[in-house]
Amino acid sequence: MKKISKINFGDLGKSFSIFFIFIVTLRVITNFLFTKIIIRDWWMLTIEIILAAIVSYIYYRLKYHTTFSYDKEGFILEIGKEKISSKWKDFKFISLYYSGLGKTSLRLYINDTYKDDYIEIPVSDLGLSPKEFREKVSKLISI
């Protein structure tokens, strides 16, 4: 099986920002509550950055990180902890869906394109060329 996996720096940066702001705010509040002064030291900031980086990376791996493995028969899609596996022959229609902000995904529809029974492969998160990948998948579906 061919495996594709790429770190999405957009999602990683997003989770880092959230955790960094959260850790700093928490530290400032507890600091102020217990000592009535706010400590501003470089070593404190360094620790916060390291801590935010570790926590956000773990969060990113559990929530966003995408791994896609496929062969002629089927595929396995892992997004964070979620895992979906399916056969190419189960799908009838494929489409490229552009959700904005440069995010493109390949939708695989089981039967009706106006119903929500589809699987979405985040092509841009995997660093693939959307049209080339669509071409490849459409060949696999028609086999």
Partner: protein, 176 residues
Amino acid sequence: MKPRNYKKLEKYMKRVIDLRNFIDNIENQLIKGRGKWIAEFNESFINYSLDNLVFPLVVRGQTRSKGFLLSRLFAYLAMPNYLVSCFVYPSEINSYLKKEKLKILLREISKMMKKNNVKWSWLIIPKEGEFNQRIIKWVEKNDLSNIGIALVNLNTKNILTNNSVIGRKIKTISKF
């Protein structure tokens, strides 16, 4: 030595490539937001089958754009949320598109629209060369209010649309 039909084949291949480029161009234009004054297209299908017909390209979207904060709020309050779709069906190379075929295409599109609650659709028919006069007259007279039809001559870049508001909008959603 070149085969006897080499020139014919070369001509045929050029037409196929031109059509392919045209379809790619339409898909890129619609996805990049060329038609955003009418609708936001965000999903494209290739080789989309509708009953016995296979459309090389179908792009769909909705009239309510997503946008960011203010534009999203404006779209939510002011715009109706209609589903729209754009079908591309090239006229077969070296043959004339018949009126009956066009009627079948429109019937299938109408059926699909009714079934899935799609409000507006466009049917774009590109061709290398002139269209049949009977077809041109029929399209010009056609006043379907929810389907726009466009006959595109790829050689002269001439676009002929049906006589409805939706039909005339084709020129604004795509530039050939």
